[in-house]
């Protein structure tokens, strides 16, 4: 995950508390989605950014996951994401992100 985004998310988490944040990913494949999710849940695995060794345990979803998709009007999803949903490996991406989400440390 790029360093600017890491910094921005860390700042928001410090300001509002990680439990107040939900991050929606748009990464186009399972590998990059997993790295992004790992960064937001367990910390930056490349140790390069602001989230290195910072376990925010954020709620993270991919835009193609049913949990997210069901929350937005179908016509909006269709207009903005529909074409990509046709070609990306949605299930593979969802499994990768879910796997990371489940590794979030228990709150408190």
């Amino acid at each position: 995950m790029d360093l600017g985004s890491q910094e921005k998310i860390k700042r928001l988490a410090d300001e509002h508390g990680p439990e107040q944040l939900l991050v929606v990913l748009g990464a186009p494949d399972a590998e990059s989605a997993e790295i992004a999710a790992e960064t937001l849940v367990l910390g930056d695995p490349t140790y390069a950014g602001a989230l290195a060794e910072v376990q925010l345990g954020l709620s993270v979803y991919h835009v193609l996951e049913d949990e997210f998709r069901s929350q937005i009007p179908e016509d909006v999803f269709e207009d903005q994401i529909g074409v990509m949903a046709d070609v990306l490996e949605a299930e593979e991406i969802a499994t990768a992100v879910k796997g990371m989400r489940e590794q979030a440390p228990a709150p408190g």
Binding site: D29, A48, Q80, G82, V83, M84, D86, V87
Partner: protein
């Protein structure tokens, strides 16, 4: 209105493993981790490996990207790969440093006397030798250690550890004229000059016949009062002997080459100029950008070449591929930044306007980044993603069956093969192939699609892009 055509193209690569450490990412990461630096230096490629690397041969026109062997390409056999090809050449670092000195009009680059002599010797045997300013190169010879010790100077190495030169700052406090920035600018100038010189020599073009040069490289040269002041184009025109030419740069992040081509075509079509060259040099800042992913996967530092290209636009000559100015696709402000919306605006909307279907374009050339470079760092296969998006749009338009998406990608797309210097990857790298295929009637239409990430400059959330269709000259109906 006169129909503009692309009458000639060229491609050049410079293999610069020693300069790779001055890429933006390595220059930040290596100085703070000695062990990492050693691993980086130990993973640099030899010149022979760079020549044998199949994507480089595809870049230089020896094989079409669709003819690339199965990956991994790093371990592919060379099968007689040559430095010099029909479309251009891959220049070794020793010579390229010499070429940089030969185009350095402000004596900013000092080469060790021994290296300057060796480089001059090698360049004097180069097929383009008479077009290089070897006298200026000879004057660049000096005391490397003294030059490198100057305040703000940057030592330059050949390969991993042979100190052969130093780049000096032109001003002690002006960040736009610091040694790292000037090194970037000089590498663009030298690589673009190599591509332009090849264009002239390989196609028997009189340098004086070119009226205008448009620079589409990524670097924005300038000083503290106008950091992106520009006009590297004219400086390249000057060293390539284009005495009658003026020029200017077009800036648009990675998307610049297509707008540059469209502007060139428009200048010719309107009769403002007869012959316009579009040029782009390589981006030093992008070298080693994804090296951490490469080292992690036991790959060599794959971003060790500078890519450059040049092409000539002139009025219809009855044989060269036409630039269809009525096919220009624009990414408007209202189009937004989602990838499908961008592709709809750039790929589909212009075809609709011309009454063409997506299957009537033989080749789509879009962001052709080499996936062997991007995947290890988690950036995925950029080219394939774009082709799948185009295919998905075709499915939605009822022009393609869903189960044919993969075959569409194989037939109308191609594997990425360009260095990760976005402007070079953004369709420009395909020009030698497009020219060959359209001229030989192997293809009738090629759509060039370029996209740029404007948000990187923090002045807009927007993206941008432009597309244009090239068509075989003898094809009726255009």
């Amino acid at each position: 209105m006169r129909a503009p055509v692309i009458s000639a193209t060229s491609a050049a690569l410079a293999h610069v493993p020693g300069l790779a450490r001055h890429g933006s990412k390595p220059s930040r990461e290596l100085p703070r981790d000695a062990e990492l630096e050693q691993r980086f230096l130990g993973a640099l490629r030899t010149f022979e490996q760079a020549v044998a690397y199949p994507p480089h041969q595809a870049f230089l026109g020896t094989l079409h990207p669709r003819e690339l062997p199965e990956r991994p390409w790093v371990s592919a056999r060379s099968d007689g790969a040559e430095r010099f090809t029909g479309a251009g050449e891959l220049m070794p670092e020793e010579e390229f440093l010499g070429l940089m000195a030969a185009v350095d009009e402000f004596d900013l680059l000092t080469l060790g006397a021994e290296h300057a002599e060796a480089a001059a010797g090698a360049l004097s045997r180069h097929p383009l030798a008479e077009r290089f300013d070897l006298e200026r190169l000879a004057k660049a010879g000096g005391d490397t250690e003294r030059a490198a010790a100057e305040r703000g100077a940057l030592p330059l190495y050949l390969g991993a550890d042979r100190l052969v030169g130093a780049m000096r700052a032109a001003d002690e406090v002006d960040a736009a004229l610091s040694a790292p920035v000037l090194l970037e600018n000089l590498t663009v100038k030298a690589s673009a000059a190599l591509a332009l010189t090849r264009l002239l020599a390989d196609h028997d073009i009189e340098p004086e016949s070119i009226d205008y040069v448009i620079g589409a490289g990524e670097e924005a040269i300038g000083d503290r009062y106008q950091r992106g002041g520009g006009n590297l184009a004219k400086s390249v025109a000057a060293v390539a002997g284009l005495s009658e030419a003026s020029g200017a740069d077009v800036k648009n992040f990675c998307a610049a080459p297509v707008p540059a081509l469209v502007i060139a075509g428009s200048l010719v079509a309107s009769g403002v100029f007869e012959r316009v060259a579009v040029i782009a040099g390589g981006s030093l800042a992008k070298l080693g950008m994804k090296f951490e992913g490469h080292l992690k996967h036991d790959l060599p530092v794959l971003e060790d070449v500078l890519g450059a290209a040049a092409l000539l636009v002139e009025a219809d000559d009855g044989r060269s591929p036409r630039i269809r100015l009525d096919s220009v696709g624009c990414h408007r402000v209202v189009d937004g930044s989602s990838n499908p919306k961008i592709m709809e605006a750039l790929c589909v909307a212009p075809l609709d306007r011309l009454g063409l279907g997506t299957l009537e374009v033989d080749d789509y050339a879009t962001e052709l980044h080499n996936p062997e470079i991007t995947e290890p760092q988690g950036s995925g296969d950029v080219a394939q993603r774009n082709y799948k998006t185009i295919a998905a749009l075709a499915v939605r338009r009822g022009e393609l069956a869903r189960e044919d998406i993969d075959s569409f990608v194989t037939k109308h797309g191609m594997p990425g093969f360009a260095p990760t210097q976005g402007h070079i990857a953004s369709a420009l790298c395909y020009l030698p192939h497009a020219h060959a295929r359209l001229t030989s009637e192997a293809a009738r239409r090629v759509q060039l699609i370029a996209k740029g990430s404007l948000f990187l400059g923090r002045m807009s959330e927007a993206s941008d892009g432009m597309s244009v269709l090239l068509e075989a000259n003898n094809h009726e109906g255009g």
